[in-house]
């Protein structure tokens, strides 16, 4: 069982997005219990998986569309033309069209959608950006506030709670403040003018209780 868990890819593929390990896990009750017991010693938290079961709480999946999180167009699908170069990021949530479910039941799915000049983006962002459109997790990695601030001149995103600043044009690198790590990126793709999610977050979203 452990071998199987270990073989799971850390980056999920587009064909098997979200949490592939869990999706493929045996559903038989006894085997699941055995799996749990086996993993007891390992630092593996089943809670993250429980949170993701309801479609509205599940992390974004490949193929999801993105919708406006707030404002007059709340719930409407965002198309590439809605984004202006270097303008304040649009707050968005993923939406699964087939089930008509917006995944807004978890704050951890809140996204910041921004259009940057594709020529200026570093190669590390190639996997995630689609023609200059980039989606970041909106949840600050320090203590979980929504990263609301934006400086159009420098393309810096900032957290109003404790002042952490992230470089939108450089994979949300932390430029200042107490945030311990960058915001997660969500890969995007544009097909026939439709903006969709291309895979899973680049890293765990949200903040971690900092022990030292």
């Amino acid at each position: 069982m452990k071998t199987k868990a270990r073989n799971c890819p850390t980056e999920s593929s587009a064909a098997n997005p979200g949490c592939p390990c869990r999706a493929n896990a045996p559903t038989h009750r006894g085997r699941r219990r055995a799996l749990k017991l086996g993993l007891l010693g390992a630092a593996w938290s089943p809670l993250t998986v429980f949170a993701a079961r309801k479609p509205g709480k599940m992390r974004p999946q490949a193929g999801d569309h993105l919708v406006f999180a707030y404002g007059e167009r709340q719930g409407e699908i965002i198309s590439p033309g809605d984004l202006t170069l270097n303008a304040k990021p649009i707050e968005a949530y993923p939406k699964q069209l087939a089930s008509n479910v917006i995944r807004d039941r978890s704050r951890l799915n809140a996204l910041l959608l921004v259009r940057l000049d594709p020529q200026t983006l570093p190669p590390t962002m190639d996997k995630y950006a689609a023609n200059g459109l980039v989606a970041y997790s909106a949840v600050c990695t320090h203590t979980g506030c929504t990263v609301e601030g934006w400086d159009p001149a420098t393309q810096q995103m900032s957290c109003p709670c404790h002042g952490s600043q992230y470089a939108a044009g450089n994979a949300a690198k932390v430029l200042m403040g107490p945030a311990p790590k960058p915001l997660a990126m969500l890969p995007l793709s544009i097909n026939s003018g439709e903006l969709t999610v291309a895979g899973a977050f680049s890293r765990k979203v949200g903040f971690k209780v900092n022990k030292y």
Binding site: G144, N210, Y212
Partner: protein
Amino acid sequence: MNRRKHPIKLGLLILALSLTSAMQADDLFNNNASNLKSGTLLKDRPTYSPVTEQRLTKPEARNWLMYRGTYDSQGYSPLDQINAKNVHQLKPSWTFSTGMREAHQAPPVVNDGYMFVTTPHNHLLALDARNGELLWRYERELPEDQVQMHPTNRGVALHGDYVYMATADAYLVALNARTGKVEWEQEVEDYASGYYMTMAPLAASGKIMVGVSGGEFGIRGFIAAFDAKTGKPAWKTYTIPAPGEPGSESWPGDTWKTGGVPVWITGSYDPASKTTYWGTGNGGPWMGDARPGDNLYATSVIALDVDSGKLRGHHQYHWNDSWDWDEVSAPLLLDFQRNGKTVKGLVHPGRNGYLWFLERGKEKINFVDAKPYVKQDVFKSIDPVTGRPEYNLERKPATGKVTTFCPSSWGGKDWPPAAFNPQTRLLYIPANDNVCGKLKGQEAEYREGQLYLGAALEEFEVVLHEDAKDYIGELQAWNVDTAEKAWSVKFKSHNWGPILATAGDLVFAGGTNDRYFRAYNARSGKLLWQQRTNSGVIGVPVSYEIDGVQYIAVQSGYGVDAEREQALLNLSKGTTTYVPQGGVIWVFALEKENNQ
């Protein structure tokens, strides 16, 4: 070397060990909670002295049973083994690393050998107060989608055999003080709506009372009481009146629904009148012009009947708050002299920079007098009868405007509690002077559970007065009978140090960015002793005695607003001061007592 076998062996070993320890825990505590860690075996733990109402009303000098030691919030210990003559012999007796980062602000609460300490993210530690042996440790599992704007916790309350903690996900948890077993937990409000809790609960009259944080998240603040034994809700009193209730006329339209007014510091209690006194926080959003009116009962002291929660009186320190000057510190209950008469008083060094003297009447609170204790450029005058300030409107932040004002939003004194020594008649205030604030007001849109601020925090700045080159932080001593400053100790650093006063003619406090914890002569302010610690000391210090030895205990662990102010001071001054994080409980005793 067979590389395959080892992981399996290791896995089996870990499984066996975890099963064994789980079985042990079950046997000992009848408790399956995986978030409970046991240190000492139950049979080896001291017996626990139940905390009766009588003990809470008149705590033994040897114990520290609540946030400020006593219901009057004086922060005063009658112990005098450690005194001004011998404090230079004070040495660390033991320390304990909490393993946590962020702000360690809780007092070590002590009941006959048991010490209870809370940490950020709601870990609760029970230690043997003699030697620092871990008895048990409860680690609350907090929801991963919550916001923690202020990762801290300010300690426990004790009642009967239980110890109580208010949590960041807005629950009140009651644990068995001896075993750490969760006896009950009660949701106080929905964290997803922006509510959270950081205060130490108040235990009185068979109830456990808590207030809620969230003044920056569009909450409607309240204080709620729960049955100490069962957790059953007893009463809930909002700090913002609903339409039709007295005071509701001070909130236009629907602003009362999201007007903030949190309560995040433990209240005081007068057992004679069965009245609790609470300080209330800022109105929300921050710009007062978003909610024109006085906004009762924001930035006030409110008096509540302990059994019904009924409002018995209030005094608003400043109306239509626009500076984020939470007046959450509960007033100290003490008698002071005025014009030849003894006044049953409420004394409050305000975040607005004024020192307030009030009278606690039977069904109302009367204004006595007030005067600034730091540079304050907002109040033009104070009505001598009502105490209502008149503002210099140029210093009142507003939407679409950039305003500077003194003191800054962190005030003359933020949450760190002042202390009073009844022998010296001096009130000790952890103050900050010469730091002014700059706010840019902007419109705020309410979204449930999200920041609802009304100010551009990215443009939140400190502006230093020219005197800041001489000092910012201060430890001030005020004679409560003359309302005159007796002495002051000045620091280059800002000061976030809660204060302990003792009968040994001593004042203990840390609070500066140089990581020192210090003892001063209570009558002169002379520095008598200091100890450099692991981090900045922003914890509430306490004193207790066991087996004839007096101890001083405090947590060192910098974070939250002290850290944020340091970052802004660095920007303003061009300095690079760095205060390391990480919590440690420090316990001190006299050298000769240590050697016994």
